[in-house]
Amino acid sequence: MTDKSLSRTAKIAASSGSLGLWLRAPVPTSPFHARMQQLWLQWRRLRSNASALFGLCVVVVMLLAALLAPILATHDIYEQNLAARLLAPSFQHWLGTDELGRDVYSRLLFGARITLYIALLTTVIVAPIGLIVGTTAGYLGGWVDTVLMRIVDVFLAFPNLILALAFVAALGPGIQNAIIAISLASWPPIARLARAETLTIRKSDYIAAMRLQGASSARIIFGHIVPMCIPSVVVRVTLNMAAIILTAAGLGFLGLGAQPPSPEWGTMLSSGREFVMTSWWIAAIPGTAILLTSLAFNLLGDGLRDILDPRHG
């Protein structure tokens, strides 16, 4: 929210008694007021959806853990202590120690940073590309549509992980390359979705009116079609985060994503693999973290779909 809108909120809240009253006012007084009221309504609907709320809580906890990792961690995540290797969970080491005597709990916290970093950065790269390709193809139609959608089809012909693996093999292992590879593999479904949305909008009267007023294609696409596609893209992107987290963990597990001694969860799983038969916590804990995070994004995505995109619920 910008400073201007904040001060406006404060002013209106002060003049009408309280923020709650302002949000529940029967008739909105300005477009901004209406938008805030709608947000409020959507938040209330999300609040009444238990599983989505659970998903949101887990995501928030993850974000906090990632942000506060240096404060919450109890040990240095790279410090090896071979005398204290493979210790079961205890008061000293809340989630035990790994094969090099490093504290699993502290590494888990820093691992959250890497996982969220990969998921968020990939989304920031993928969503705009998918939106632009999809809306352009859908609005312009004709050969532009054919060419772009053929390209999308080619990318969709590979399962996500296989394509990401092939790109990583060519680019070399590492987090940056993993992000590039996952992005290259996950933009096409968003483009497809945005195109489908565009096709339902492009014949509407208000688009025809814009055209008659002489608006350029670019203006119509970015000013009037993209905003209409955003709700369904937000839903899709949230669900995608779960898939991205799994792919990133898979790459890490195969030794092609983040490299040891990085505390990325998949990498932790793969380096603890040989000791898993005797020390279950080494693999159980990072795996549970991956499962919970991916589950949270799935639940949140399903909940957001009910709210933002009721047609496909």
Binding site: A169, A170, L291, S294
Partner: protein, 358 residues
């Protein structure tokens, strides 16, 4: 056909309404095959891009870093690096058409030969997985729709969500710890115990079938003990997808009026659901099953790594780890082709078996 503006005698209306199915199939083939060929060409272009243009030095990425200068120059010439790009692409496509992906660095044999060797193991695993996933997933989805919003529905949906969200390589590891190391119920990693490995006469390449054909039930039990856990874990992912899709198809059907009619006629609820509603979604469900079969190939990459399963996924992983681009490109291209083919088959199934789409 009569002039549309003058509806004449309707004697020939029956012929017009029912076109020859063989002809319909041909026209469908024509309409669907062209985009498929374009997509396949695109696949070739994309894999060419990944294999030859992305690596800074394609020759080194094929030979590895320790290649001699002589070998380097030989490979460089063999790849046609001195030729223009379009020429290289032409040679590449020609190789693909004759199923020649070059030699794999890891084994020194042609990639295609390697894939043919490891593929039966994956097919066996994936087939058992899809049997498990379908056998449990369809009833789960239908039950979920029948008792919508009940505790049963919630339990099934939650299980499905776990199937979506759990990393299958982790499930595999945990399964090994529990069922192999702790309980000792199943065989460990690998396809078969070492002592039996050379007793088995390879006929089909599928261990389960081979041992059954030989009538050697001891080996059969051993093989089954090895395959059941990885297949269940792969099948769990398929189950999640199949039950979710089946549920939403069935909910849509159960809201239709013909369901009410059937009930009013006095049919039992079970018969209405299974015979009337399910028959209408059977083709849709079938395509979902076919698609999940393709997705199992993706799941196999990680599962096979965990279970040391000597299949396609582990071959691909090993190739990735040593940067064997010929094998990587060959494998990904193959997966792409399988995907496109399965999609095409689904499309045809739909049109042939579902009169509503004609």
């Amino acid at each position: 056909m009569t002039d549309p503006t003058f509806p004449g005698p309707r004697s020939d209306a029956g012929n017009v309404a029912r076109p020859n199915p063989a002809f319909a199939l041909l026209s469908i083939l024509g309409r669907t095959l062209l985009p498929v060929f374009v997509t396949l060409f695109g696949l070739a272009a994309l894999t060419f891009f990944i294999g030859r243009m992305l690596p800074i030095d394609p020759v080194a990425s094929i030979l590895g870093d320790n290649a001699t200068q002589e070998a380097y120059e030989k490979m460089s010439r063999a790849l046609g690096m001195d030729k223009p790009l379009w020429y290289q692409f032409g040679v590449y496509v020609k190789g693909i058409l004759s199923l020649d992906f070059g030699d794999a660095l890891t084994t020194g044999k042609p990639v295609m030969q390697d894939i043919a060797r490891v593929f039966p193991a994956t097919i066996e695993l994936a087939t058992l997985a899809i049997v498990i996933g379908t056998g449990l997933g369809i009833p789960a989805g239908v039950l979920s729709a029948m008792y919508r919003n009940s505790w049963l529905d919630n339990a099934i949906r939650f299980t499905g969500l776990i199937g979506y969200s759990a990393p299958n390589f982790w499930l595999g590891l945990m399964g090994l710890v529990l069922f192999y190391a702790t309980l000792g119920w199943i065989g460990g990693p690998g396809r078969i115990d070492f002592i039996y490995e050379f007793d088995l006469e390879p006929v089909t390449g599928f261990h389960l079938i081979d041992s059954a054909l030989a009538g050697n039930w001891e080996i059969f039990r051993n093989v089954f003990g090895h395959i059941i856990l990885p297949a269940s874990i792969l099948g769990f992912g398929a189950l999640a997808y199949i039950s979710r899709m089946t549920r939403s198809f069935m909910i849509e059907q159960l809201a239709q009026e013909y369901i009410v009619t059937a009930r009013v006629k006095g049919l039992s609820w079970a018969r209405t659901v299974w015979v009337h509603a399910f028959r209408n979604v059977a083709v849709q469900v079938l395509t979902v099953v076919a698609l999940s079969y393709a997705f199992l190939l993706e799941g196999a990459v990680l599962t096979e790594t965990v279970f040391a399963w000597p299949g396609f996924g582990r071959y691909l992983t090993n190739a990735l780890l040593v940067g064997d681009m010929n094998a990587v490109v060959g494998c990904s291209l193959l997966v792409g082709v399988i995907f496109v083919t399965l999609n095409l088959i689904c499309d045809l199934l739909y049109r042939v078996f579902d009169p509503r789409t004609r």
